[in-house]
C-alpha cells in the first residue's frame, strides 16, 4: 500500500503537486492502519492459492497485451499504473472474504481513482486527489470502528 501510494503520488506530481501530497498522505495513513489491522501471519501463497496463481498469470498476459497497446507516448506510466492497479485490486477484493483485505483493496482503489483523472487531457485539479486520499485513509479505520449498526425497516 505504501509503495502504491508513493508510486501514484510521483505519477500525479506533474499535474497537481497538492494532489500528489494528498494521495501520498492518504496512502501512508491507510498503509499504517493496514499494518496494524491485518492478520499477523505470512500471507503470500498460503494453501488454496491456485486461483490467485491463475489470476496472476492471466493478468500478466493481459498486462503484456495492454503494455504493447497502450504504453507508448506521453503519460504511459500513469496509464499503465491505473490499469494494473484497478484490475488487480478489483480482483483481490472480489476473491477475498476477510474485511481487512477488502478494505485495503478499497483504499488502493480510492488512491488509483484519485490519480486516474491525470489521464484526461485537461488538468483535473487537486479535488479528486484530495477526496481519494481522504477516502483511502478513512476506509482503513472502518474495521476498527464500532460494530455494525442495526437498522430495521
Amino acid at each position: 500500500m505504501a509503495l502504491l501510494a508513493v508510486g501514484l503520488a510521483v505519477l500525479a506530481w506533474p499535474s497537481t503537486i497538492f494532489g500528489a501530497f494528498a494521495i501520498a498522505a492518504g496512502g501512508m495513513i491507510a498503509a499504517a492502519e493496514c499494518w496494524r489491522s491485518g492478520p499477523a501471519t505470512w500471507g503470500i501463497m498460503p494453501a488454496g492459492s491456485t486461483a490467485r496463481l491463475i489470476l496472476c498469470i492471466a493478468s500478466g498476459v493481459l498486462a503484456l497485451w495492454v503494455a504493447s497497446a497502450v504504453t507508448t507516448g506521453t503519460g504511459a506510466p500513469l496509464r499503465f499504473a491505473v490499469l494494473v492497479v484497478l484490475g488487480l485490486m478489483a480482483a483481490r477484493i472480489l476473491m477475498s472474504r476477510e474485511a481487512p483485505v477488502v478494505l485495503a483493496g478499497i483504499a488502493s482503489l480510492a488512491l488509483v481513482l484519485a490519480a486516474a483523472p491525470g489521464l484526461a487531457p485537461a488538468s483535473p485539479g487537486p479535488i479528486p486527489a484530495l477526496v481519494g486520499g481522504l477516502i483511502a485513509a478513512g476506509v482503513m479505520f472502518v474495521s476498527r470502528a464500532r460494530p455494525a449498526e442495526k437498522v430495521g425497516t
Partner: protein
Amino acid sequence: MEPELLLAATASLGLAVVFAPPRVPRANLLTWGLLGLAGMAAMVLAPSLDLVLLILLLLAVLQARLASHRDFALRLRAPVLAVGLLALGLAFERMQGPVAMERFGAVGIVAGLVAVVGLLPYVHEFDPDESVVASPIVWIAFVGPLLAATVISQARQVIPADAGDAFGALLIGLGVLNMFWGSVGSWRTAGDAAAWRYSFMADWGLALCGFGLGIADGQAAALIVLFSIVLGRLPLYLWSRQALREKVPTDRPLNLVVAALLAGSAPFAGFPARVLLLRGATQLYWPLALVLAAAMLLWLPASLRLGRSMGIPRGRQAVGVAIVLGLNVLLGLYPQPLLTLAGL
C-alpha cells in the same frame, strides 16, 4: 435530469419516513436516507466521473457496515466490481490507442452501470428479510436512478462518436434483456418479495432502452421511468413489506389500481414513458418498437400479482398510497413540466 431525480429521491424518503408502518424505526431510516441523499447531492455537484466513482465507493462501504445476514465482504463485491469496471472503462476512453480501446471503454462503463444497479447479468444477492437500507433495493431504487443518469450524462462527454453507437446499442440490448427477464421473473418467481425486486429490474430495462436510444424521446421516457421507480414502485414496495410477511393476497379495488400503476397503464406515469419509448424506437429502427411493445405486455400479469401482494393499506400507509397514486397520475397526465425542468 440529475437535480430532478435528487428531488424525487428526497420526496420518496419523506414519504417513506412520514408514512412508515409504526414498527419501523423512523430515526434510523431518516439518518441513513439523509446520508444517501448527501452522497447523491455530491454526485450531482461532482465535476467529473472520477469523483462520482469515489463517492460511490464511500457510499458502498458505509452501506456494507450496516447489520445484515450477508457478510461485509460479500455485500461490497457488487459495488466494488461496478467501480472497477466503470474506472477501467473511463481509463480506456482516455487512452490514445486503437478504436477497439474506446469500444472496450464503452463496454466497461455499461457493465459497471449495470453492476452497480444490480441488473442482469450482475444481479445482486437479495434477502427478503434484510432491512431495506442494508439491501440491494437501495441501489436499484434509491441511489441507482440518479447515479445512472449522472454516469450516462458524464460518460457521453468522454465517449467518442466511434464508440457512441456501441454504447447506445449495449444499453438497448441490456435494457431489452432486463425487460424480459424482470417481467417474466416478477410473474413466475416463487416469493412475492423477489417478485418486487424483479419488477424493479423490468422497469430499469425500459430506462436503459430510453437512454440507449440517444434521442430526446428516449431520454424523456427514461426520466419518467426513473421517476416512477423512485416515487412509485419504491414507496409501494416499502409499504407492502408487512403484507409480504403475512402472505395474505388481497383482491380489493385498491389493489387493482396499484396494479395498474405498476403496469404503467393510463393515466399513470408509466404510460407516457412507454408511448415516448415506442415513438423513439420507431424513429430509430421500427422492429425494435415491436420487440418493446411485446415486452411491455409482460408487465400485466406481474403487476396484478404485485398489486395483490400489497394487502390492505390502513392508517398512514393508506394516506401514503393515495399520495403516491396522485403523484403518478399527475406525472402521467402532465409530464411536460418535469421534462421542461430537465431540459428535454
